[in-house]
Amino acid sequence: MRTKHRMILTPLLMAAGVANSAASTLTHATSNEFGGIALLDAPSNLGLRPPSPGVEPGVKRLAEAIRATGLPKRLGVQDMGRVLAPPYSPEAEPVTGYRNGLALAAYSRDLANRLSPILESKKFAIVLGGDCSVLLGAGLSLREHGRYGLAFIDGHDDFSPPRDPSKYEGLNTAAGRDLALVTGTGPKQLIDIDGQRPYFRVEDVVQIGVSRTHEDREFFQVEKFDQSGILTLDIDAIRSRGAERISQDARRYLDTPKTDGFWIHLDADVLDTSIMPAVDSPNPRGMSFEQLEVVLSQLLASPKAVGMELTIFDPSLDPDGHLAKQLADVIERAFLLSGRIPTNKATVENDTTAMQDDAAFASVLLSHAAAPKVAGEADIFAPLLGRWDLDVVFYHPDGSIQKRIPGEWHFARALEGRAIEDVWIVPPRDKRNSLDPAPGEYGVTMRFYDSRIDAWHSVWHGVVNGIVWPFIGRRLGDEIVLERTGDDGELMHWVFFDMRRDSFQWRSEVSSDGGKKWRVEQIMRATRQVQEHQ
């Protein structure tokens, strides 16, 4: 929200600096100095095992799902199309020892060929994977253009070989070894395409976010990664030192003059399974969306970042598309905060800053996903998230209509996903005259789930009329009923009912006899506002 000009830019960036006096610096060129963004789909699942017999990994549809969120338009990308992959086979492939190994070698060459013109044009490349093996194609292209570093943001090291290789003969998964492959360990067909090994040098790589489980240590030679010389900023480091400080460390390391730039590899499974379950190997100790936003925006802010790939998110595990939207939102925000995209077409330095202020404050207040205790059955207000047009009717005690006014209602998640905040504006903004004392109301409700009572606190603040009313809300059948008792002993219910995907109704009713008889005071009919399309 707009305070003074730039002040709000600091919260997100100063987050880690708050506890110490070191000011953080997100130094970057303005968006005018960055050369534009190009988008390339690499829908390859060649690097993964089948999720179950006879089923192809769904990560092939990641690009489609991310595009459907409208992200490309919001980032203002140039669309460079799609690099189709050869058909997936679950069979063992003995030549490389990797499932689909030879197909992957050919695909990597194709992908590199399609990435080359983008790198040469100095546009920032976004590659929508696919699984992590798309890194081979990206790495090959980069190596052919110089020496590039790598920010490897991933919940796994994608490096350590199995302790018992005999179990994996012909069936090694490239998506589980891509970091080893691109740094020169593995079959020649994959690590040395056109003699370019290694695509990345180990000393030019930073691993961010690795999270080890018992199984990892038991079944994989993790010591090989630990001794590889790759700088590692694991999940424990992020949690103890903070995403801000970690991202600065990574940025300083990657901004070295020894390289011509660096690539960003982002595997969705760096995120915690509680917020990102739609991945092949869910991460029980992963990053939060907010931490990822901090890391990604810091890296994107460097003029040396030349591109990124997004991998592993599996839309088949996200049937209603909300995880795709959350992922897209984090990426969009990171681009905004980094200064890589202008915040509106008529860019003026002031506007850019104000939008970044809003983006930064939005980041403190608002959230993308429900907190763990709120998710699932407890998340009763989730269907209301979004924007609504209202038709509001107030009734006389005799049941006749007192007045009828339009309105608007906007719901969003807040406070690390533990709360929902909604702004209720009657009449709506486009019908308000700011010179008159405002009629109606322009208020806000704060709602949060309390597991101690298995119910929601829901506090209405009617700032025009001087009202603060705390309610307790629960789902009852198909309705959500909020209840309070007035000072005069009168029972009040605010009820959400007839809840559908694009509409709902709401009523306010009171009872003076302990709940035997109810009188309806107000009814609202809400219809969902049309979303802007990509």
């Binding site: 990053m287 903004r429 208020g443 606190h457 001087g466």
Partner: protein
């Protein structure tokens, strides 16, 4: 448009609303961001927990209200998962001309608190007060300067004769980047 952005556009305001601009600046003076040193006390006066924190104030609702997000520990030190740390809550404050005072309500979702206060200036300080079950709680902003303030929470079970110090905060304004 990012759905959260639409909500923020509806919520957001540029500054205080007329005609109560002067009254609104009582809390309006805090708009911006603060870094905190927070100390919680046990009833015997020993320190229970000392932690850094963050506090961000902004204008909302056509400038009639201030919303502020408060958290301990700061974001960079927060873990995620089923057992969150500290608190990450919000206060909604607005000036009520009929009351001649502010209604200021703290919402703490981690610890399950909804605490409505009435707040007004008292001398150099701003005192938020509420009474529940015979106990008076006051949250007090004091030593307010442009770039710092001192906040304390005190509690009285004997109608204000004696007060127990429950919590302190030392706040420093976070300056904008150059």
């Amino acid at each position: 448009m990012n759905p959260n952005q639409a909500m923020l556009n509806a919520l957001d305001a540029d500054g205080p609303a007329q005609p109560y601009e002067k009254e609104l600046m009582l809390f309006g003076q805090f708009v911006g961001s603060w870094s905190l040193d927070v100390i919680y006390y046990n009833v015997d006066g020993s320190i229970r927990w000392q932690t850094p924190g963050e506090w961000h104030f902004g204008w909302v609702l056509e400038g009639r209200a201030i919303e502020d997000v408060w958290m301990v520990p700061p974001r960079s030190q927060r873990s995620i998962g089923p057992d969150p740390s500290g608190e990450y809550g919000v206060t909604l404050r607005f000036y009520d001309p009929k009351l001649g005072a502010w209604r200021s309500t703290w919402h703490g979702p981690v610890n399950g608190y909804v605490l409505p206060f009435i707040a007004k200036a008292v001398g150099d300080e701003i005192i938020l007060e509420r009474t529940e079950r015979g106990e008076i709680t006051r949250w007090i902003f004091g030593r307010v300067q442009a770039d710092s303030f001192y906040w304390r929470a005190v509690n009285s079970a004997d109608d204000g004769k004696t007060w127990r110090l429950d919590q302190e905060m030392f706040a420093t304004r976070v300056l904008p980047l150059a």
